[in-house]
Symmetry: C2
Subunit: 402 residues, 2 copies
Amino acid sequence: MRILEDGGVTSARGFRAAAVKAGIKPGTDRLDLALVASDRPASAAAVFTTNRVQAAPILVDREHLRRGSARAVVLNSGNANACTGERGVADARRTCALVAQALGVAAEEVLVCSTGVIGVPMPMSALEAAVPAVVAALAENGGALAAQAIMTTDTVPKSLAVEVELDGRTVRLGGMAKGAGMIAPHMATMLSVVTTDAALSSDLLGRLLARAAGRSFNCVTVDGDMSTNDTLLVLANGAAGGPAIEPDTDACERFYAGLEEVCRRLARMIARDGEGATKLIEIQVRGGRDEAEARQAGLAVANSNLVKTAVFGNDPNWGRILCAVGYSGVEIDPARVEVCLCGVRIYDHGSGQPFDQQALSQAMRTDEVPIAIDLQRGEAVAEIFTCDFSYDYVRINAEYTT
Amino acid sequence: MRILEDGGVTSARGFRAAAVKAGIKPGTDRLDLALVASDRPASAAAVFTTNRVQAAPILVDREHLRRGSARAVVLNSGNANACTGERGVADARRTCALVAQALGVAAEEVLVCSTGVIGVPMPMSALEAAVPAVVAALAENGGALAAQAIMTTDTVPKSLAVEVELDGRTVRLGGMAKGAGMIAPHMATMLSVVTTDAALSSDLLGRLLARAAGRSFNCVTVDGDMSTNDTLLVLANGAAGGPAIEPDTDACERFYAGLEEVCRRLARMIARDGEGATKLIEIQVRGGRDEAEARQAGLAVANSNLVKTAVFGNDPNWGRILCAVGYSGVEIDPARVEVCLCGVRIYDHGSGQPFDQQALSQAMRTDEVPIAIDLQRGEAVAEIFTCDFSYDYVRINAEYTT
């Protein structure tokens, strides 16, 4: 597998993308409408938020995905089209129809994603006026602009691609994501679109995507809040040529490895760019009875405001880490759990171990803080990504709509 | 029922209390050792944290409570005696023994509570040296000092008492609590001691306490972190005279009402004094199928960092409230849920309602912000207390040990 750091949603063959300023974000001069399109029908699959409150685009996408294929994804920032009632659903449908008309495809072949403020009707006249321009701007190198257009409180665009060898031919998988706040599993918030020029059925694509999401976006948390709009879409258009990938083959495993890699790297970028984050926190959990409990223990630590503020303050306060493992719901034995922070074993055998407080605090002054936890209950592992919790998280979220 | 705002753990007859500076909090000149004692054996019951990691004092208290009666509670701040292994348990036992010896009672009649930094051995020589002084200082008006001595990052001491008429005689219930950070249900963090001069069996006392905790301390959250030390103790010494309270009597219900009132008011004080709090948030949930789901929905909102930062910023962002209800795990229908903020109906029938953004933001500039949520699934209600989330929460918790 080869990582293409500069890659994105247009790295895979047969995909074009574009972004324009539609004026959906009032009072700013930022890109806010993106389009990703395949030059041929693509197998399509998705994972959505499990929040009971689901934004209008998700309701429409679920319908459109029943056919198992799609041609394009239209995404906007600045307005989430969530909690907007029947009008919101009509607006999402109309957005798909407008794009479909301009592309000359069926409305059901277009998927839609929105992110931004909740509860405000979509400014449809602005969006409608911008559709011809974004379609006209579609380009084979448009992935980078599209990744910019979906940002909200993100500070950097997030995209990359990988190349995977399958039976002598090369396929590419590329993706973009936006995240920042309201990030918690099932799903991590965010919008993410992954494209690939491999060929496979939408059914297989969906199963592989669910597995990859469990090890990537569902292992990221910023603030424990789960959004109404979380969406991960994947389109596979087969433009690389060659036979379709079949389940349980070597090619399928290689393709899956590429898909997981793209998702994991995007998820990690989201955690690193969490609202107000100054550091990425990587939590390695091992010794779980199964992957689910390893993830559960890691997420409790990752969601602990006390752990996250301690990391922000370079405070080697292992008590907070252990405490979070203790209330995670996993039936740990506190006398067997081990905790390492920045590679230093700070807790085992039921009590804190001697360590150099100054030196460890100094070691925490870095932009990636590793926490390793051994539950000593089995062989399963999980890796969770989160960020520290700073003054800026409060500033950003106290001032979002007003 | 009459509220005694100046009351506390020594309002009930037969109880004395005291506090001294033992030097357990290094480098400060603050009270850090408190003692509450009954002049006769008292029925005793407790509710403890459900964290798998439990501090040494809890392990010792569980043993001592097997006899169902106690004479005294010794409490220290500055050191939690948590994650301190076998040495911690020996230290907690020795603390009880030292106090018991000075009081002339059995070691098993003394309960112990600790709060403060996790993972540091208790400075036993300082504690040991201070025991004679705290015993000598026991006084019938010592409740206020005891409430001060258990503070950590609390900014105000928390205590009150109530008087309840039972069959023509008056009994008193008084309590003190400390809270501030690492507060989340089962239990809300904290130490709390409630005393009463009513007479009742430890068995009945325990059942009433569990019920009261479910509607008070377990309805409070500051940061979603559940501590290793959370303890709610109650002692009933019968000094008011009269027959013992029997279950399922009018007297029992009146006594319970007093106990719930003391617990709820202490819990509310804890939320108001949450770390960095500028406001109390009162979340009224109605329309639950049962009390448990009403509480679950309310706690999801109360634990949402996005809701708490929005309240801090006077931002009427109802989308975040609805979103938290949506991921609470309660199977709500988003088209039926209603949300009111500061008395203004801002969401119902599946979409946001028009409201004056400026006026509502202005209404939020107060020290008690009410949020009312109707789940429209049944008749059950719950009331949850939390606080807003400010820059100071981050400051306090980034700098706690270093």
